[in-house]
């Protein structure tokens, strides 16, 4: 951090010696330097555009640097990566998309704090500071920004691998080396028929439950067709009863014939915690 401060103060000393002509061609330079195809930088660019006003506002709070802020903010390009930021802690642990954005937002807020205390750098200062890390690193930003990007990449790789591992390990299960092999893991990814007959297990009569939208929606496809017994895993007697339940619900006009019930669709788009219906009084829990 001390070297960073030294850098910025040194750059400010040089500021007076710089010609106005140099200042004119600075935006083109730094815009070219800021161009990169890596996703975090692109995110950053999108985020930075509305936030230029906030950084200007933060700079305006400090009266000492108000004059330099007014001169620097129009010249600073919206896409230039800000150096001297820490990677957010959430990126290290959390999922990719949300926390990467949050990390970038954190970087922005830190940058605006720095602006408030020291004053913003001019475009030339920024270009010089970035030049300290070598020409190749300009697009990736500072090493900390690179660490953020690397962490995000790692999280993405982790997510991708975990998607390949279909098995949800239950506590108390036994595994042998064979269970960790890809051939065995593939079997857990495939969608087979359920192991047991749900109707037999729960002991209810499906035909009596034609008004139960949640139940009917479990036995139809997203396009409104009755699920095959290979998908439901029911024995023929129960499959016929379930099919009758669906036909009855649709025939009575209680249930749409081409998609799931709108209320079920609405609930399925909410978070799982919201979709669980809460029954206040069990005695009122009638069909």
């Amino acid at each position: 951090m001390s070297s960073q401060r030294w850098l910025s103060s040194a750059a400010r000393q040089c500021q007076t010696a710089l010609a106005a002509a140099q200042r004119q061609q600075a935006p083109a330079l730094s815009r070219a330097a800021a161009f990169s195809t890596s996703a975090p930088v692109a995110d950053f660019r999108n985020l930075n555009t509305p936030n230029t006003t906030t950084s200007a506002a933060a700079a305006a709070n400090s009266p000492s640097s108000a004059s330099s802020a007014s001169s620097a903010s129009p010249t600073s390009p919206p896409g230039s990566p800000l150096p001297f930021t820490r990677p957010s802690r959430r990126v290290r642990t959390g999922s990719l998309a949300r926390s990467a954005n949050e990390a970038l937002r954190d970087m922005l807020s830190e940058a605006s704090e720095r602006n408030a205390s020291l004053g913003p750098l001019s475009a030339e200062e920024r270009r010089r500071a970035l030049g300290q890390f070598g020409p190749g690193s300009v697009g990736g930003g500072s090493p900390t920004a690179r660490a953020v990007a690397e962490n995000a990449q790692k999280a993405a790789a982790s997510d991708a691998y975990l998607r390949q591992m279909g098995r949800r390990w239950e506590v108390g299960e036994v595994y042998s080396p064979r269970d960790l092999e890809p051939a065995e893991m593939q079997k857990w990814r495939k969608r087979g028929s359920p192991a047991g007959d749900v109707v037999d297990l729960l002991g209810f009569n499906p035909v009596d439950n034609y008004k139960n939208f949640a139940l009917v929606s479990e036995f139809i496809t997203p396009m409104g067709r009755i699920k095959h017994s290979s998908l439901t895993g029911l024995r023929p007697v129960n499959q016929r009863k379930v099919a009758k339940m669906v036909r009855r619900a649709i025939g009575l006009g209680l249930y749409p014939s081409v998609h799931k019930h709108p209320q079920i669709l609405r609930l399925s788009h909410q978070t799982p915690a919201m979709s669980v219906p809460q029954s206040s009084n069990p005695s009122q829990n009638k069909l």
Binding site: R92, T93, G94, S95, K154, A155, A157, S158, Y161, L162, M165, G166, R167, R168, W169, E170, V171, G172, E173, V174, Y175, S176, R178, D179, L180, E184, K187, W188, R189, K190, R191, G192, S193, P194, A195, G196, V198, V199, D200, L201, L202, G203, F204, L231, G233, N281, P282, S283
Partner: protein
């Protein structure tokens, strides 16, 4: 034993000693965790072994002689690391012996015994006393071999007396039955026993009447009248008794439970019943002290034969550093890192059992473990591993082994690492770098091989205390 086999004919003795007769029938497989889930694998390792695992001597194995009806193919039975087989069928219509490797469960058992953990009985969080206390969760648990819990042979007349200790019941545990199965059980098992239950009630009524008559006679200082027989109880008396009992739930449940030999149930709390708190109906239940009332009786002996240790209350002694505060920690594999979005904790693999990471990685000093449990890094060869301290193990009602682990202390990890040559303490030399020569398959096998239980461990262990596993 020897005398009885001597009296057998030579052919009979040969048959009795043969594998064909000594292999027990397979036990039913563990139930699926989620029968409605479409994701499952038929070939995955089961939660407990269902077949006997057999082995044979090296000289006999070379000839394919496993003591079965026909020699087994040499190609698949001689080139194995662990010559352990499970025989699915001695003979089939295709005239083959159906076998597969039994190394998975056999090695898992060996690895578990290396942990040196006693198997405890599953007890309620509140412990023995009715007053529930969170602190009691951390009390040492009772071994499954304590006299009061290890009840295996109960004479039929004492079945009701030993209700709080027994773990084996001929009837089901009703709280664990799905509704459909309960209805089927009522129709198939219970309804045909109606007449027998009336007879059972007659016996109860007769003993009740005899007791009442004896007490009345004692009060009047008269000799006790002759006891009446169950057959002399009339049908009207039975019906009256049933009417009286109908609204008294606990006594009728006791009678039914005794008749059907039902496993004990934990009475529901007021919250669980869903009744309003100011209910005029008083729920009166007997307090149940059975350790299996809450989660159901186990399908096996509470130890599952995994370990015969009674306690882990002994100290390991290091030849240089003296007695160790903790037992030797073990390396756990991160099977699945935690997922923050779903709020699931990391799943670890300890000695071949899937374990919840629990409070592992919580300690400030264990930041490395924390980071390895949060993300799957494909660059780590063989996957992330971390040192954990196994705390306790019990077998739950479905036969799954539940291990509890916690963070291993830094000192014990260092001592354990030094023992295998991965760390340097007090000037010991580190193991030769693996980069110097290419690692062979034998090296890998030796690295991950389970230690044979017969060889003496470097640290003193349970065996030194006479606690033979």
């Amino acid at each position: 034993m020897a005398t009885s086999s001597r009296t057998l004919s030579p052919g009979g003795a040969l048959l009795r000693a043969s594998r064909m007769f000594s292999l027990p029938a397979p036990i039913p497989p563990p139930p699926s965790n989620n029968p409605a889930s479409p994701h499952h694998s038929e070939t995955a390792t089961t939660a407990y072994p269902t077949h006997q695992v057999i082995t044979t001597l090296p000289s006999a194995r070379k000839q394919g002689d496993w003591g079965l009806k026909r020699p087994l193919p040499l190609k698949s039975t001689t080139r194995t690391t662990h010559p352990l087989l499970r025989i699915k069928a001695i003979d089939t219509v295709e005239q083959i012996t159906d076998f597969s490797s039994g190394a998975d469960h056999a090695i898992t058992l060996r690895k578990f015994q290396e942990l040196g953990l006693p198997v405890t009985s599953q007890r309620t969080a509140a412990g023995d006393s009715a007053a529930s206390s969170v602190n009691k969760m951390y009390l040492p648990q009772k071994s499954a071999f304590e006299d009061e819990l290890d009840v295996t042979d109960v004479p039929p007349e004492k079945r009701t007396e030993n209700l709080e200790m027994r773990w084996k019941f001929s009837g089901p545990w009703l709280a664990g039955m799905p509704p459909g199965e309960f209805q089927r059980w009522l129709a198939r098992e219970v309804r045909p026993k109606r007449a027998a239950f009336r007879e059972f009630l007659r016996g109860k009524i007769a003993s009740e009447l005899n007791e009442a008559a004896a007490t009345a006679a004692l009060d009047k200082a008269e000799p006790a009248p002759a006891p009446i027989d169950a057959s002399s109880v009339t049908e009207d008396q039975v019906v009256d008794f049933l009417r009286r009992m109908r609204y008294d739930k606990q006594p009728i449940y006791d009678l039914v439970g005794e008749f059907l030999d039902l496993a004990p149930l934990k009475p529901p709390t007021l919250v669980q019943t869903g009744l309003p708190e100011q209910t005029p109906i008083k729920l009166e239940y007997k307090d149940v002290n059975s350790p299996y009332a809450e989660h159901g009786p186990p399908v096996t002996h509470p130890s599952a034969g995994l370990s015969y240790l009674r306690t882990s209350m002994y100290m390991e002694n290091h030849p240089l550093y003296g007695p160790q505060k903790e037992h030797a920690p073990v390396v756990a594999r991160v099977l699945r890192p935690r997922q923050n979005r779903l709020g699931t904790r990391a799943k670890l693999g300890v000695a071949g059992f899937v374990v919840d990471s629990g409070h592992c990685g919580d300690a400030k000093a264990n930041q490395k473990a924390e980071s390895s449990m949060s993300i799957l890094n494909p660059d780590v060869v063989g996957g992330h591993k971390l040192w954990v301290q196994p705390r306790q193990a019990y077998v739950d009602s479905t036969g799954h082994v539940m291990l509890t682990v916690s963070d291993a202390s830094q000192e014990s990890v260092l001592v354990a690492q030094e023992l295998v040559g991965d760390a340097v303490v007090l000037g010991t030399s580190k193991r030769s770098q693996p980069q110097q020569r290419a690692e062979t398959a034998l090296d890998l096998r030796n690295r991950y091989k389970a230690r044979p239980t017969s060889s003496a461990p470097a640290l003193s262990s349970a065996q030194d205390y006479g606690l033979k596993p």
